[in-house]
C-alpha cells in the first residue's frame, strides 16, 4: 500500500464516520504519499466527499486516525489519551491544506484578486502589498491575470473555479483536496480547470481528487480508489484498474460514467 519513502503525506487508518444512524464511512485505510495524486471515485452517496472532508476536519470522525504530514488531525495524544484540539490549533492544522469545492464558494463581495489575497492577509498576516504581488502571480498561473478585478458573478464557472484554486494556493499548501471540482461546470469549461490541476500535479503537489473525470484519473492519477457503500472496494494504478476492473460494482459504475 505504501509506495516510496518514509511517512506518507496523508495516512488514514480505520476511519469511520456516521451521520445520525447512517454510517457513511465504514473503516477506510488509505495512504497518499508525498507528491502523488490520488483520485477517489464512486457513486453518489458512497462517502467519497465525506472522506475528503474528514481529512481537513471539516467533518468530525467517529473512530480511526488521520495523519497529515505526520501530524494527527483534530487531536493531540498526551499521556496515552486523546485530547480534542482547541479551535485555534485546528485552524493552524487546516492552514496548509487547500480545499477546492464543487460549487467554488468564492467570496462574492470580493474581486478575484481580493479572494486570493484574503487567506494570506487575514490568516497569515501578510501585508496587503505582498499579498497582492503573490495573488497577481497566482492568477497568472491559473491564466486569469486579466480578470483580477472582476467579481465572481462576472466570471464563468470555469474561471471561478480557477480563482478558487488560486485562493487555496495562496496559503502555500502542502496538500490540496479537490471535492468534485468540475461537477458543477458546463462541459466546455471542464478542460480549463483540469488543465490547471494537471499543471499543479506536474509541479509536484500532493493531491486528493474526488472526481468523475476518468480521463483525468487515468492521465494524472498515481492511485485510483473506488469507494462504494463507505468502504474502498478497489484500488490501484488508474491505468490498470480502469483497463481491467476486478470488482463487479466498480465495473458497473464504470459502465455508467464512461
Amino acid at each position: 500500500m505504501t509506495t516510496g519513502q518514509a511517512e506518507p503525506m496523508v495516512k488514514i487508518r480505520s476511519l469511520r464516520k456516521r451521520f445520525g444512524s447512517v454510517e457513511v464511512l465504514k473503516g477506510i485505510d488509505l495512504d497518499v504519499p508525498h507528491g502523488q495524486v490520488v483520485c477517489v471515485v464512486g457513486p453518489s452517496g458512497s462517502g467519497k466527499s465525506t472522506l475528503l472532508r474528514c481529512v481537513n476536519r471539516m467533518e468530525t470522525i467517529d473512530s480511526g486516525r488521520i495523519w497529515v504530514d505526520g501530524e494527527l488531525m483534530g487531536y493531540a495524544e498526551r499521556g496515552g489519551r486523546l485530547h480534542l484540539l482547541a479551535p485555534a490549533e485546528l485552524c493552524r492544522q487546516r492552514r496548509p491544506i487547500g480545499m477546492v469545492f464543487q460549487r467554488f464558494h468564492l467570496f462574492p463581495h470580493r474581486t478575484a484578486i481580493e479572494n486570493v489575497m484574503e487567506g494570506p492577509v487575514t490568516v497569515l498576516g501578510t501585508s496587503r502589498a505582498e499579498a497582492r504581488r503573490q495573488a497577481t502571480e497566482l492568477l497568472e498561473r491559473v491564466g486569469l491575470s486579466d480578470r483580477a478585478d472582476h467579481y465572481p458573478a462576472q466570471l464563468s464557472g470555469g474561471q471561478q473555479q480557477r480563482v478558487a484554486i488560486a485562493r487555496s494556493l495562496a496559503m502555500r499548501p502542502k496538500l490540496m483536496l479537490f471535492d468534485e471540482p468540475t461537477s458543477a461546470l458546463d462541459p466546455e469549461l471542464v478542460q480549463e480547470v483540469l488543465a490547471v490541476m494537471r499543471d499543479l500535479a506536474a509541479s509536484g503537489m500532493t493531491m486528493m481528487v474526488v472526481t468523475h473525470e476518468m480521463g483525468f484519473a487515468r492521465e494524472v492519477g498515481d492511485q485510483l480508489v473506488f469507494v462504494d457503500g463507505g468502504v474502498i472496494v478497489e484500488r490501484g494504478d488508474p491505468r490498470e484498474v480502469l483497463a481491467a476492473p476486478k470488482n463487479d460494482r466498480f465495473r458497473t459504475f464504470l459502465g455508467q460514467v464512461l
Partner: protein, 316 residues
Amino acid sequence: MEVTSTGSSAGSQDGEPSAQVPVELPIEAVRPPRPGRVIGAGVALLFLVWLAYTVIVNENLHWDVIVSFLMDGRILGGLWVTIQLTVFSMAIGLVLGVLAAVMQLSDNPVLRGTSGLYTWFFRGTPLLVQLIFWFNIGLVFPSFGIGVPFDGPKLIEWQANELITPFTAALLGLAINEGAYMAEIVRAGIRSVDPGQREAAEALGMSHGQVLRRVVLPQAMRVIIPPTGNQFISMLKTTSMVSVIAGAELLTVAQRIYLGNFEVIAMLIVASIWYVVLTTIASIGQHFIEKRFERGHAALGARVRRNLRPFAKEPA
C-alpha cells in the same frame, strides 16, 4: 405578413439572411375605451378636493397658529431630542441585535438560551410598559454601583434618581426593545449567507471571529440593511411614546405647549408635520441605500461597470 414572408424566403435562398435590411412594422394601435378608469380617477379627485376644502376653510384648525409654532424654539428643541433618541437608540439597538443574533446562532446552549430569553421578554411586553418601568427603576434598584456582585463592596455607586432622567430612561427602553427586534433581523441576515461561504473560509484556516467579520457579516449586510431602514423610520415615530415619561421630545413639547394655550389640534398638527418631514427624509435615504444594495456590490458600482467593459468587447 406578405412583405415579411417574401423577404425571409428571398434571404434564405441567397443563403445570407444577415445581410438583409429588416422590414419595419410600426404599431399604432387604438386603445379600447376604459370608462371605469376615468370614473374612478374622477371620484378620487373629487374626494381629495372636498377633503382639502374642508380642511382649509375650517376655522377650528387655526392655520395661523400652526404656522407660527412650526419654527418655535421649543418645538425645534423637541425635534432635536427626537432625532437624538432615534439615532442613539437605533445605534445601541443594532449593537445589541448583532450580539444577540451571534449568541443565538452559537453552539453554546447557555448563550443561545440567554439570547432567546432576551428577545422573548422584550418582544413579549409592550414598549409603553417598558418605558414606564425604566423610568421608575429607582423603585426597584435605588442605587447602581460597580464592584463585587451579590451585595459585595462597591467601588462606585450612583443613586438611581440622579442617573435615570427621562432621556436616559427613554434611551434604555427604546434601545433595549429595538435590540430584540434587530436580533431577529440580523439573525435572518446571517442565516441567508450560503453555508459554503463559512466552509471556504474555515478551509483557509480562519478562526470563528474572522469568518464572521470577514466573510459572513459583510454578506449578511445586504439582507440586514433594508429592514433596518424600516426600523429606523418606525423608530422616528415610536419615540413619541416617550411622552408618557415626559421625555422632552417632539410630542412631549407639543403637549406642554397646548396645555398652556389650549391649541390642542394645532400643536398636534405641528408635531405631525415634523414627523412627516423626518420620515420622508429617512425614506428617501432608505430608497438610495436599498438601490445600492440591490446591485450587489454597489459601493463599488463604478468599478463594477468598468470591469464589465471587457466582457462587452469580447466576441461571443
